[in-house]
């Protein structure tokens, strides 16, 4: 028996020897990559830019990879690689440019859009891209009697209200598609650049059926290869891409849920780019000579909504007082770090029509107390403060923001109890108006101000289940944003939206907290990665300099 123990021990030691000896090969992943690269150089990419394998670490797994069906950012990260749209956001901007459509015409009444499609494009499975594919991809989301309608629910299509905008989609000929609309809708064309309007291969959908989200086939720069659930998705270069092929040979999306663990993986060279770094680690990353951090103001806003249907938030003075009571600098310092900027408007500063002339309520507890007294609450009041349980782009830590606010409100006599539920319950209860004050936020998805102001603050959005969780119904504000929605002229729309923001500030249905800066730390050798304001992660232009 003793011999057995000794034998086991020896075996263990040998084994650990093997493990740690092997370690030498593993640790300098960069070195090994360099070798891989050497092999790749045999077949040089277009302008001699290095390809290779890129590992992108992110917080969660994709749900599925059917662009029409998914709603979450993690799924779209995958969809973006595989699918193209007929129009697209110019990389790094919210401007629209042609993609699978080479050009388009608009009828004079603004109710008909005709798209002229690119010829000679093929899906990854060899299917020819044509007008039928466009009608198929979007039609399955529009027509309830479409044979593939039941592969939905087509949530994003519904969320953008597309069924009430689009009346018909017609294949005029093999390479011409016409959209007929119910009403004039300025943001329509931008909607078509969003992920949900990605063009899928009809053949593949028919072949895989409901399993298509696991076997996505599009026309995009990368082909889907394999998916290890909760772990990684692998894509490879589409050599027959209709533009120049991508430089990278392979893109791997890797799941590492904890932000600090992602950072550690980057430090160790296990991954090349990481998503959503913890604001706590940002300064350290910037100081690291091997790492660069690319940042861009996000198209988002995190806010505290006052439920105006509840006492005492119906009183404008109370809402203003609470705005005066919060020191946003502390929230930025405690939660966002260098990854956020203070917000004063409901629109992010990068959005056209952002009204920079507006002056924010400054931090002034005395003023807050005075206003509270005027409103009849000289000793303050008790209420609830709802905090989101999850980390979102616009608010990396809802509970911590709530903790800071709680302490600040207390100084003006407003006692708050922090309330939190799981994410689903939280959304459900807030959209039913069960909260007093609630933290929430929004990430824009088509680069149009309407996507913020109408969706979040219109009277229509105050119907239960509401997205206007302040339940703010202001006639003047509402008229302005509806007029802007139906106006095609951008200068005119800008003026209307700027006016709307003035009313918003005065009435203070929200306490806008911050716009987060999206940061993407990566190894120095990752070149030409551009952040997209609408939250896409594109690797088409990326190459590796090593």
């Amino acid at each position: 028996m003793k011999k057995l123990l000794i034998a086991a021990l020896v075996l263990l030691i040998c084994f650990s020897g093997l493990v740690f000896a092997g370690g030498d090969q593993e640790e300098p992943a960069v070195k090994e990559k360099a070798q891989e690269k050497a092999q790749e150089k045999v077949t040089p990419a277009a302008d001699d830019k290095n390809g290779g394998v890129l590992v992108f670490a992110r917080g969660g797994d994709s749900v599925g990879l059917d662009p029409g069906r998914e709603t979450d950012g993690e799924s779209f990260y995958g969809c973006t690689q595989v699918f193209d749209n007929i129009v697209e956001f110019k990389p790094g901007t919210t401007e629209i440019q042609p993609a699978l459509a080479e050009s388009w015409d608009t009828s004079s009444d603004g109710l008909e859009f005709t798209f002229h499609l690119r010829k000679g494009v093929k899906f990854h499975d060899g299917t020819v891209f044509n007008a039928d594919a466009v009608v198929f991809s979007l039609g399955r989301q529009l027509w309830e009697d479409h044979p593939y309608y039941n592969h939905g629910p087509w949530k994003y299509w519904g969320g953008m209200d597309m069924s009430n905008i689009v009346k018909d989609i017609i294949a005029v000929d093999n390479y011409t598609v016409k959209f007929v609309l119910h009403k004039r809708e300025a943001p329509f064309i931008a909607n078509l650049a969003m992920d949900f309007a990605g063009i899928v291969s009809p053949t593949a959908v028919k072949k895989y059926g409901t399993d298509f989200p696991n076997n996505p086939v599009g026309t995009g720069p990368f082909k889907f290869v394999s998916w290890k659930k909760e772990d990684s998705i692998v894509f490879e270069k589409n050599k027959d891409y209709w533009r120049r092929p991508a430089y990278l040979d392979r893109v791997i999306l890797k799941v590492i849920p904890d932000a600090t663990a992602r950072y550690l993986a980057l430090q160790k060279g296990e991954v090349d780019i990481i998503d959503f770094p913890s604001p706590e680690d940002l300064e350290e990353m910037k100081a690291d000579p091997d790492i660069k951090v690319i940042q861009q103001a996000g198209l988002n806003v995190g806010y505290l909504a006052f439920n105006m249907d509840r006492k005492p938030f119906g009183d404008k003075r109370v809402r203003q007082a609470l705005n005066y009571a919060i020191n946003k600098d502390e929230i930025i310092a405690g939660v966002y770090g260098s990854a956020g900027t203070k917000a004063k408007n409901p629109l992010p500063p990068t959005m056209w029509s952002y009204n920079n002339d507006i002056v924010d309520y400054k931090y002034d507890p005395a003023m807050a107390k005075k206003l509270l007294s005027e409103a009849g609450y000289p000793d303050g009041f008790s209420t609830t403060l709802w905090a989101m349980p999850v980390s979102r782009p616009y608010n990396p830590n809802g509970r911590k923001v709530a903790e800071i606010m709680q302490a600040q409100f207390k100084k003006v006599g407003v006692l708050t109890e922090i309330v939190s539920y799981d994410w689903g319950t939280y959304l459900e209860k807030t959209d039913h108006g069960e909260h007093d004050m609630a933290l929430l936020g929004w990430t824009g998805d088509n680069g149009d101000p309407d996507n913020f102001l109408f969706v979040l603050l219109s009277a229509a959005a105050a119907e239960i289940p509401a997205q206007n969780i302040s339940f703010w119904r202001d006639k003047k504000f509402n008229d302005l944003i509806i007029e802007a929605k139906e106006t095609m002229d951008v200068a005119k729309r800008t003026e209307l939206y700027k006016k709307a923001q003035v009313i918003f500030k005065e009435e203070a249905p929200w306490l806008p907290i911050a716009h987060s800066v999206v940061s993407e730390p990566m190894m120095n050798y990752v070149m030409d990665f551009k952040l997209s304001p609408v939250g896409k992660r594109q690797f088409y232009d990326v190459w590796l300099d090593n």
Partner: protein
């Protein structure tokens, strides 16, 4: 229910109790582990009761400018957390919360466990069969999973975490009490009392139950430690205490992002948990040795 239990104890101690009790006390003095456990428990109870006096700072008062101060700087003995709150004070108040969690959860488990166990063992028959089936079903869930599913059902909060932990611990007491009751039910003294006209209730709670108290008290002491660990785990997963409550598990959870930059925020709440649980385990172990050496493992 708990009142009745207290009553039974105060009315008339069973004859053989005093001797056994003195004997136990004597043994306790000899058992170093139990003494050590008792001392640790006493310290934590003291801290829990006098938290407001002992704590150098308000556990909720923030000072964002002094966030993540290292231990022994800026007047923070154990450093400050990410919102500039004094870590030591939060740990002290956390002790109070953990003691409450331990006592309440085990209290719930004891009350229901004993009641169900006694009834099941005493009456037997179909009632016993049904109860034991239900207990089997509960035991078919691994403990951690059961608490998680119950909290998920009730909604995340400290109270619900205590309820979930309490419910998850019920089966062990039911089984233990039932077995003891079955063993004692036909004992001479019970038969004698029954013939003297004692009611079922008297027999169950006054005659039989006190004889099962030894294994129950061992289990309860270990159970408190386990409850503290479970509640920390639930809070860690976001299913237990909610911020800004200074609960140890929650403190560890929110410290995750500082493992590269502020080791003290991770380390100290964990050590506090470890020590408190250790105290109850040491005491429970010692108690077991004293009361019945055969019960060991």
């Amino acid at each position: 229910m708990s009142e009745q239990l207290l009553d039974t104890e105060s009315i008339e101690p069973i004859e053989k109790e005093p001797g056994r009790f003195r004997e136990a006390l004597h043994q306790l003095k000899k058992n170093k582990g139990a003494i050590a456990g008792l001392i640790i428990i006493a310290i934590f109870l003291f801290i829990a009761v006098f938290a407001p006096v002992i704590a150098p700072h308000d556990p909720l008062s923030q000072n964002i400018e002094l966030r993540k101060s290292a231990p022994f700087t800026e007047g923070f003995l154990l450093g400050s957390d990410d919102l500039g709150r004094d870590l030591l004070s939060r740990i002290i108040y956390g002790g109070r919360i953990s003691m409450i969690i331990g006592v309440v959860s085990v209290g719930i488990a004891l009350v229901f466990g004993i009641l169900i166990g006694v009834i099941s063992g005493y009456y037997g028959g179909w009632l016993d069969k049904i109860i034991m089936r239900l207990i089997d079903i509960m035991l078919a869930f691994p403990y951690v999973l059961l608490t998680i599913v119950i909290v998920a059902m009730l909604g995340p909060s400290l109270t619900n975490a205590m309820i979930a932990i309490g419910i998850s611990q019920i089966p062990r007491y039911v089984r233990m009490v039932r077995a003891s009751v079955l063993a004692e039910k036909e004992a001479d003294y019970v038969v004698a009392e029954r013939s003297l006209g004692a009611s079922n209730f008297e027999l169950m709670f006054r005659s039989i139950l006190p004889n099962c108290l030894a294994p129950i008290s061992v289990q309860a002491s270990l159970g408190v430690g386990e409850a503290i660990l479970s509640s920390a785990a639930l809070s860690f997963l976001g299913l237990g205490a909610q911020p800004p409550t200074p609960e140890w598990g929650l403190m560890i959870a929110s410290s995750r992002e500082f493992i590269t930059s502020a080791w003290w925020i991770v380390t100290f709440p964990g050590i506090a948990t470890l020590l408190a649980v250790l105290g109850f385990n040491l005491f429970g172990d010692g108690l077991r040795d004293m009361l019945d050496p055969k019960l060991r493992d």
